[in-house]
Symmetry: D3
Subunit: 249 residues, 6 copies
């Protein structure tokens, strides 16, 4: 069930059978010569939308701009500062909590978001901790590539040159979902370099075409479809486990 | 051209022929018994995506959560505080500006966003004004229903009961784009009450089913299609005028 | 009754007969070759002080610095950033609310303040909306030129060249109240240009002497007096209506 | 010269002969059974306005709401939080600096403001210090009762029962300026208690009628006039010394 | 009792006999040619640790970075902005309050901290004042040199050239505690100049070797020991008085 | 070399041979029945201070309060909110950068700090990325238990019951450094439970004595000494590698 295509009374109905909501979250940032700028928010959106076709989960609108300051040297990247990102995640969760959601599950598509999202959870929990009261809801972050079975599949598909940015697995997922938007390029070098991540100017100097450690030429829509199906199944299982968790005390 | 389905080098190419970007912006909030929660961000997204099919404009990802604090009494509403919203709009604009965009055009779908978006523009301009330097980019806000021809068309379609929230025109637009998500209900009263907007508890007491002044039963997908075509044409014209504006001095 | 010339026990007494307070709010910013820098806060102060002579309203101190970033290219302008302005309006309202005021009425003298003031109201309401509780007070913004009868009078006084900044009507109001501070100048052109409002450098380039669309030479103290009397009467009526409003539910 | 009754070009002219501006700053807060709520911003305003009649100084609008959280238990008090106050002082100074003011002199009327004002100065200086550059302007805080000759005069006028809040000296100053707003009351005890300052509830419990250590019954308009004349002379001298200061290096 | 060398249950035990905690607070900043960068946080730490050997007080970890923006022109200085400092002090106090501490005593070692610390207290109190409720804890700031007997002793030890920064008394205290870290230098001039404090560039130009008004050559470990013993005794007495204070009402 | 026991000119001298500074960073929080509240800031401090005895590194004062909101249910815990923590880390780094430090190395002692510290780095980098300029310095975070050889040693010392909070390895380190502060207790159960981390009330309900997955009874000062020596050696090697890194482009 897609929240944005539902009415408020449909969501009210959903809350009578579940207190859990899934938020796809990602980033809009350069993904090398052929990766779509939307890759990191499209992947969790594609997976969550696929999963809700076969499972009774509620999927919120996609949080499509994340923490991508290091990619700002490449046109089309849009980033929040961590402080803004933390404030916005907080308002999303506070909003959902007012309706009675007790489990807020973020399906993430961007490694660079992880620290800020976890800091945002702590910021929300701290409000309750300083006040000496229960928070009333729990948050969970899961990267889509860490869903059950996904990493193993990606490793078998791309044993060499998977890398960490503009990876063939994420590009394959978007190829499957947006076949009209498949791009090609000659990659030089075939496998991109690796190294640390700092400010945008440093990033562009280290990684001239935007890739980190990856060879995206290996992506195909078929591999993407396999990844989406594995991830969607893993998501339903992981959300069910989170929803079933009981608070202590 | 959709930014999120493009690569960074395609955006780099676009920048050689235009310095203008269009950002659909809205809100995810209750829209009465039959309106989709996504209505206010779907409408500008639908219109902007339609427009870019026939005009060479660049459409950014949709800014889908806005200032909807007054709707938080209804499940599914997600809102930013104005301060968070202002910070986030600022980071979007600062990001786009680093790439050389000089005109940032927000196509808005939610009246409740207007004050915060304009305050965000002033916050951005103030950084330059306090520093005594040019800002380097200009921002513009346009509500989709104020695009040329749209209000006249909506008035002719819905001479009575248009109202100001969960209007038949916005619901018609989403019906045209998402025909599988059309909902029906008996409205009582036929035309909803009107009044002031304050905090969520006050709002729900005044407007029990969420509508303000509207009779959404008049919406049809056909009327929606007419509105989208009018708005898309109006958008291309308005964006062209904004892009053509020359800075003084 | 002027709050700043009262004691706390006099205000305590006022609260037994009314829960409404009027806050004149404006800006301190250039007003062209002859307009006083204080024009935008003096006008609502003059009107509110006049009104309280004949009606039992409580007038708070004047909030004299607003959002005027675009005027910072002209000496004497003092501006808050929107974020600071929003925080300050919040603290004023929170303060007044602790005393039991339930209706806080802002009589505004500066168009550039509107977005930030409305965003400030939403920020205040959002605190309650996120907490799922009533706010306890309502805010209202009214521009003095929108009080009953004022625009019609100004249109009849200044059918041509009223403009939108450094207008003959606002200058007339200050001339009536501060006859010793009337200034004269040769205006070239007679009617100033119009256009968009952006950062200070852009503003000064577009509007070299600070006026927008106006011909202030038409102002006279007599016209100002007529405007003040009309506005004061309109204010008493509008405040009474706001005070009489009953909360739903 | 009063900035708010001047035009921007008159301020431009003033800047050719001086880079110094005086800002009266105070608080709007309870002042015991007979003190005006505006006392703490009226006093510096009265003194500065008196001083500019005989000296060529530029007086900005009065910053009339300060840090008075401890007085919020008494109706009519309006307070900023220190964080808001610091942000607002910062924006005032940044605004004035854009025009070329190099010395910003705050004439203060409220002891409770001192810490926040000094913290605000440090916040402004820190921007430059972190950037390793000169700030371009200097700030100075002076309490009006510390101007040359004033404390000695007040001690001679009120050798007993001067106290620290709702003092006879500040009340005398407002009596001189606003003789129509003189209030009387029976004070019990004659001299109010003293002690620490904490949150509003604690304050009201300690100081039931709002006074701290004072016997305001001693105030007279005549004593107030003497204080104003002494303070105005002291202000001109102190501002001149500040204006004459030369930066090192 | 040192909090950081205790377990949580030992602190729980302490709370059954006292609700007071002592926080040494200072700054890490240049202290002239021979003063340690840590001087201003080491002094209150040394004194508080000494005091807890003979009195049953609980000493929290040292808050070692304060407001030292003006010293940033000298290597090794680390400063918080006032706004950051205020936020951090707030979180410390909120944390301690959750455990039941009702009296939070800051023993300060840096004059430049005073305004920000007092503003932080007001910020904390204001939360309660705006909410119309008791705060639940009281804060106190004491500079170590103002403890009973300390100033008199320092005056007798250093009748000339004590000054206000890199003073012989503070340097003596660190010499007593860290005899292996005693440094020497030729001071020119013998007694440093005095003047105002502004941004870092201005400070370094005025005070080339970092001292203000002082002749640190007079410091000896023996004098430092005498100061520490006097201050430790004064601290125990002052903390006891604060702990014994009863709230009104 | 310990920064706080050095003078500014000694730091100036250090900067001629290295641009790298090491900041021990941790948290002050409950560590189960026997662990010291200071454990998480003492461990990196102990290791860094040990390392500087044999290597020419500069060690800054210890950042002793971190993100420990989940431990606030246990007396003695002091926590910053993530937003405060991020602001404070930012000011530390900006301060150190003004002196010419180009590599800022944080040796961390608390897993709960990681997200906020990394978010703080991104916040700092983002300032430069939004401005399109190099940052001028690089930050690195290393948990002390991830230094070369340390995890292997801890695994061999504590093959069972190491756990993740109040671990025998961290307690052993503090036992070695503070033998007078060794505490004992009967642990029930011997090995503490594991699970998720949320707000403080939830944490205390899940982990009644504060431990997570650990059996601290295995700690000895001797094992602690071995860990410190391994970590100190690993630190020198890791800092040298970071210092030797060359920026691209």
């Amino acid at each position: 069930m897609l929240l944005h295509l539902s009415t408020w009374s449909e969501v009210e109905g959903f809350l009578t059978r579940s207190k859990t909501v899934v938020v796809p979250i990602g980033s809009n940032e350069q993904h090398g010569p052929t990766g779509l700028l939307g890759t990191d928010w499209l992947c969790p959106e594609i997976i969550a939308h696929e999963a809700q076709k076969s499972g009774d989960i509620l999927v919120a609108p996609t949080f499509n701009i994340g923490m991508a300051q290091h990619h700002l040297g490449f046109p089309g990247t849009i980033s929040l500062r961590p402080s803004t990102f933390i404030a916005a995640i907080g308002d999303w969760c506070r909003s959902l909590s007012t309706h009675g959601f007790e489990k807020i599950y973020f399906l993430n598509g961007h490694g660079g978001n992880v620290a800020s999202i976890e800091a945002a959870f702590s910021e929300l929990y701290a409000e309750a901790s300083f006040a000496g009261r229960p928070r009333g809801f729990a948050c969970k972050l899961k990267n889509w590539w860490e869903l059950k079975g996904v990493t193993a599949l990606a490793n078998s598909q791309f044993p060499v040159g998977h890398g960490s940015h503009a990876t063939p697995s994420e590009i394959a997922v978007t190829q499957w979902a947006y076949p009209d938007a498949i791009k090609t390029a000659d990659y030089a070098p075939k496998i991109a370099p690796t190294g640390p991540i700092r400010e945008a100017a440093d990033f562009r100097a280290r990684y001239p075409d935007g890739r980190m450690g990856s060879d995206p030429a290996q992506a195909t829509p078929e591999k993407g479809g396999d990844l989406v199906r594995a991830a969607a199944a893993g998501l339903l299982e992981d959300v069910a486990a989170f929803a079933a968790e009981v608070s202590p005390g």
